[in-house]
């Protein structure tokens, strides 16, 4: 009589990596919907393109390394990476930009380290930063929000802009681009303008942050809160990151409101919300202990502010995440929870 003899526990909560990733994808939906609403179909096309490229790259590398392909293709992690990367790209960025970035993220950022679970850096952010430093021109031409445009872009228009580099009416893509709110603010501050002045004079600013950007951030916030509710992510990272960013922004806002934007502006601008709930929380590359997560995410919050306020780049989320990714193993080592029955150190 032969019985099956694996070890205990003999039951399982029936969760899976796929389920976790699927939930992340669901949680992205409100933000993406707002994004598409404000910036047109380009966003959707980018996401789709990135997903396809990510899956193809992932499959190809796994195949080349003779690893099982199917479990990893279907785990959804590559799709999450692709979606987050695509969300960070300018809405009408040319197709090859998305392709290069995604391929870099998946092949170098993830698979070179052994694939799922082993990458020390956030692959999506690696892809983004690589693109930013290699193709700064393309990466800084943001599409203007739809409401600031004379001509609304349809699906076909967006596709033709992305794949052919031009619009049907023969308009250059430049006609649809403008600097993003953070970029505008940064450039104008360099020209010795005051914050209130900049915000009053540029049409791109809304009530708290950039027009449209506020709503998109709201969408990601909702999705993120749902993720916390579903226990896909813990509250530590978003809370610490947003808290740190808010605090430091408030301090400098109080010191000099002319050259420093309001903390609320920082919270709803750029990739703050997306970063706090979806990017900094990437479990693989973040700190894995709860005390460590607090330190890690607070570090991100502070670095985001430092780079935004004094650095050369308008938004610092990607860099801040990568920089703190570097520290994650060290943080994990030094910030461990107290073990049951041990004294507090």
């Amino acid at each position: 009589m032969q019985f099956d003899s694996p070890t205990s526990p003999h039951g399982h909560a029936r969760t899976s990596v796929t389920r976790v990733m699927l939930r992340v994808i669901y949680a992205l939906i409100p933000g993406i919907a707002a994004y598409i609403y404000f910036f047109g179909w380009g966003v959707a096309i980018n996401i789709l393109l990135a997903c396809v490229v990510a899956l193809v790259c992932e499959g190809a590398v796994l195949r080349a390394r003779s690893r099982p392909v199917w479990p990893f293709i279907t785990d959804g992690s590559a799709v999450v990476t692709a979606m987050l990367l695509a969300l960070a790209l300018p809405p009408l960025s040319p197709w090859w930009l998305t392709l290069c970035g995604t391929a870099f993220a998946i092949v170098i950022g993830k698979q070179l380290y052994g694939g799922l679970g082993y990458n020390p850096f956030n692959p999506a952010m690696l892809g983004y930063v690589m693109l930013l430093i290699s193709f700064p021109l393309e990466m800084t031409s943001w599409t203007a929000p739809q409401m600031l445009l004379e001509v609304k872009l349809g699906l076909i228009d967006a596709a033709s802009a992305i794949f052919a580099g031009r619009l049907p009416e023969g308009l250059p893509i430049d006609a649809f681009t403008m600097a993003s709110p953070l970029d505008t603010l940064k450039t104008q501050l360099l020209l010795d303008q005051t914050v209130s002045n900049v915000i009053a004079t540029s049409p791109i600013f809304g009530n708290i942050g950039g027009k449209g950007w506020e709503w998109i951030s709201g969408g990601f916030l909702i999705g993120g809160l749902w993720l916390i509710y579903m226990k896909v992510i813990s509250w530590h990272i978003p809370a610490a990151m947003l808290g740190a960013l808010f605090t430091i922004a408030e301090i400098f806002y109080l010191i000099d409101a002319n050259t420093h934007a309001t903390p609320w502006f920082h919270l709803v601008s750029g990739a703050t919300m997306l970063g706090a709930f979806f990017i900094a929380t990437d479990p693989v590359s973040a700190a894995t202990t709860n005390p460590g997560r607090l330190v890690y995410a607070a570090g991100i919050g502070i670095l985001v502010y430092v780079i935004r306020a004094w650095g050369g780049y308008p938004d610092g989320v990607a860099f801040a995440v990568l920089l703190m990714n570097m520290t994650a193993p060290t943080i994990d080592y030094y910030f461990r929870p107290r073990v049951f029955g041990h004294d507090r150190k």
Binding site: T7, S66, R67, P71, F72, G114, L116, G117, Y118
Partner: protein
């Protein structure tokens, strides 16, 4: 030119003198490294590494005369520990020194033993009991499984046998790697 030669010459002389002085004043004796290496070696004393026992091999490693991959009984774990200690890159066991084998103990087929004492002389850890012309036995707990007593026996009554596993000595194996989709080849 003269200024150059002079100033640097003087400087070097001064530095040389200081270093020479320091070498005498701050002289340090002994090398604790050998002990550390010896502590890692398995003490099987089998000589497969090419040295007459573990300590000579440890001395040879410390002096740079031997590589870290020459001890088969130590296995991969031993090489890794040595690499860690010495800050070197681990490398696979040198096949010239033998292969990793399961640990065995010597067993004397006692009725056949003629009491020649040759095995006693071969055993590096005095794990064989017996006297001349009397039957010999191996103290199983003391035997390191070095194999050295097998060859000298004139009647081939010594054989190496695997150590039997009991419920007390059984330990959980690592999970099968086949189950792990993303594991090493």
């Amino acid at each position: 030119m003269l200024a150059a030669v002079l100033s640097l010459g003087v400087m070097s002389v001064v530095f040389g003198l200081l270093l020479g002085f320091a070498a005498v004043r701050f002289k340090v004796e002994g090398d604790p490294l050998v002990d550390k290496i010896d502590a890692i070696l398995p003490q099987t004393q089998c000589g497969q590494c090419g040295y007459p026992g573990c300590r000579p091999y440890a001395t040879a490693i410390a002096s740079g005369a031997a590589d870290i991959n020459q001890c088969p009984p130590g296995g991969e774990a031993g090489i890794l520990a040595l690499a860690d200690l010495l800050g070197r890159d681990p490398k696979p066991l040198n096949p010239e020194n033998g292969q990793v084998k399961e640990k065995m103990v010597a067993a004397i087929d006692e009725p056949r033993c003629i009491g020649c004492t040759l095995c006693i002389q071969a055993c590096p850890v005095d794990a064989i009991l017996g006297a001349a012309k009397q039957m010999h036995t191996v103290i199983e707990q003391e035997c390191t499984g070095c194999d050295l007593c097998v060859a000298p026996c004139p009647v081939d009554c010594i054989s190496m046998v695997p150590i039997a596993q009991t419920i007390d000595s059984w330990r959980w194996p690592a999970p099968e790697k086949a189950r792990i989709a993303g594991s090493y080849r």
